[in-house]
Symmetry: C2
Subunit: 430 residues, 2 copies
């Protein structure tokens, strides 16, 4: 029997894409892997959904648990989403000796350590290329292509919805709410946008990237996550005048003392860096390795097609090489690594204040920063023809978050400063 | 014995890099692959060269042939360059049951079909990640990550020397000769620059990428190759006014009738495309797959470090998975594919003429193009305050090369046109 038999759980956007693309690529995959690949069972809550993409009625089941125990299935492809049932299905499938392919970033971020340990015990593959950055083969590149490198840092634009919204705010001068409405109308944002715009989706992916880079799972509460909901167009405009573009960036780094930081927040990137030119729904991940230097991977990070490419690639990997591959992270732990708190992180900052238009204000602000040993690299105070308040924008040199926040609070308390400060972190890739 | 024993032929820039990076990464690679990796023999013409990077005298040999027959070597790493001896070494090593890693693009472009057939017969791995785009894992991504895709096109900036020269001409307004001199002074160009600037190095890499995309080897004389030696700064300037950047681009495409084109030439790229922002010595390869859409891979394409990352990655791959991996191209042939002649290729064109400044000239030029059914998409005729000749720049719609060249010859023969036309091809990624 030279057929790899797939049981697929879930037949929504991604599952439908996998089903649609498999048939026209079956011959190609047979040539390339030496195996026929057939989806023999599809488990869905609503059979009509699977029938709508052309799955024959006799391959549809509503009992997802049956995939794990079905002796006629070699690989379980988990595309249900959610974490509770997906976790149960993956664990049971591995235990029953099946390989597993999943796109479930939330589940891996939450239970990755447990599930990869289950795969190791079962000596079965647990592949997850589709969980980060859709069709971009970033997982394979980190695990295999760059295997001879210590990873110094990973910087990723890994949420297409946020990048679309920020791109429209930048290019079309829209405010956040307008760009969000447009993204929803265009199908680039979910009806409930919070998973994307509040940064949680990017944080799940960042946890997976961190596990690949450093070989251990960062706990969800060890990640710093800040979304784009409060971004104002005028800060994008001021930043551009200073030579920066605003992106929701996932930043993963290890310092010389093996202290790791994993954070997701709106970030100013120098316009000259390739990441600054990644626009619309595209994703890109820059990986800095100690041997290779900087590399960057770019492509569509979501959608039925790009994600199907990654899922089918994982299935083909198993078809060609069904043996268990002990392969780098997440199995290799950096045993001495610790995770930094946000207070310990060092960054540059963009600080916008609303100030009273009166002599001596800049001196007062600069004095506070000076007292906290935070240097100023540039200042913009645009001409404003109104008599209430004026914006003052400061670009700051490297400072520790704790020091910076202390200075920020003191500055906000000055009587010449009105309302809260706007803070954006700056990444110079130095 | 849990050590993978490497015999390395050549200890120049790349070999020296591999030697230097292995020791500090030995423990990391052991964790990640489960094996110790040791370079047990280094074959060099001049022992002092290997001693200079720290190879102990007892591991140095001047007899490269001995690597193939040495029973204490598991993997031969061929970094000698050249094609005659390298071909003999690789063939003999495979035949003797050793895996082979090579960075030799010229050799693969010339003898790839024969060497991969030898690897298949011997059931040994022949890995070559370092042969294209240095540290960027493009070979692995094409063979494995994007395995579920038909490759529609590959566009690559794959010669760092040319990209450096063109970047300096663009950014600093240098002429070709000045930028070349600067590249030589900075170590970005060889003393004999012709392999790079005449496009041959890029053509070797294009042949390898084409073999991965389409599963067969294009004969060297089936590639169209044009270098950057004749590029003038003013054409870069005119192109920028039209919204394009000039790059030496390798273009690999298959059309619906399985006709393949493989060409390397100076190419105008729309400024909005990510490839246009790839500057300096960096390389980037855009791959368009029928499922995944557009992806792009970016990084350092040359140099001891980036190339060592790829060589060590291939060695680690063998350490982790020594079994022969039948894997996609180049072993899978598109049996019906044929290679287009340049005459059959369809492209857009940039055409610069020196014309006599007299009424009716544009009409005459346009009439010739019209007679060949070639449309004009835009025209620039800059104001020139001299009374000899003036430049006329035309951007043309899609035309077949044969038609275009016929029109070009007629235009050059017009009495109002002085001297030869300047022609640059334009890629719109449509």
């Amino acid at each position: 029997m030279n057929t790899l038999r797939i049981g697929m759980a879930g037949c929504g956007t991604v599952g439908g894409g996998v089903w649609r693309h498999l048939a026209p690529h079956a011959e190609l995959l047979r040539q390339r892997t030496g195996k026929d690949i057939a989806i023999t069972k599809v488990a869905v809550r609503t059979p009509a959904k699977a029938q709508a993409v052309g799955v024959p009625a006799d391959r549809i089941t509503t009992d997802w648990r049956s995939l794990a125990s079905d002796p006629d299935i070699d690989v379980v492809v988990e595309l249900m989403g959610g974490t509770k049932e997906a976790r149960e299905l993956i664990a049971a499938s591995l235990k029953a000796g099946k390989h597993v392919v999943t796109a479930n970033k939330a589940l891996l971020a939450e239970c990755g350590a447990e599930l990869f340990e289950a795969a190791r015990r079962a000596q079965r593959q647990l592949l997850f290329e589709a969980s980060v950055a859709g069709g971009i083969p970033i997982i394979k590149s980190l695990r295999e292509g760059l295997i001879a490198n210590r990873i110094l840092s990973v910087h990723g634009i890994i949420n297409g919805t946020c990048n679309y919204i920020l791109t429209r705010m930048t290019g079309q001068g829209l405010e956040y709410a307008e760009a969000l409405a447009e993204a929803k109308a265009g199908g680039y944002a979910e009806a409930d946008e919070s998973l994307d715009v509040d940064g949680h989706d990017a944080a799940h992916k960042a946890a997976i990237l961190a596990s690949l880079a450093y070989g251990f799972w960062v706990e969800p509460d060890q990640l710093y996550v800040e979304g784009i909901r409060n971004v104002e167009r005028r800060d994008i405009d001021f930043a551009r005048k200073l030579g920066y573009e605003l992106k929701l960036l996932a930043i993963i780094k290890m310092d010389e003392r093996q202290a790791v930081e994993v954070r997701v927040h709106p970030t100013l990137i120098p316009r000259t860096h390739v990441l600054a030119s990644v626009s619309g729904v595209f994703n890109a991940i820059s990986v800095h390795g100690d041997v290779v230097g900087e590399t960057l991977f770019y492509g569509r990070g979501a959608g039925a097609d790009a994600t199907a490419s990654a899922v089918l690639g994982d299935i083909a990997e198993i078809a060609a090489h069904p043996e268990y591959r002990k392969c780098k992270a997440p199995e290799t732990a950096c045993l001495n690594a610790k995770v930094k708190t946000m207070d310990e992180v060092v960054s540059r900052y963009y600080l916008r204040l609303d100030i009273v238009d009166r002599p001596g204000v800049l001196a007062k602000v600069a004095a506070v920063l000076g007292a906290h040993a935070i240097g100023i690299s540039s200042v913009i105070q645009p001409e404003v023809h109104a008599n209430t308040s004026v914006p003052l924008i400061l670009m700051l040199h490297d400072a520790q978050e704790k020091q910076f926040q202390a200075a920020r609070r003191e500055i906000e308390a000055l009587d010449v400063v009105k309302g809260p400060a706007v803070v954006l972190r700056v990444e110079d890739f130095a």
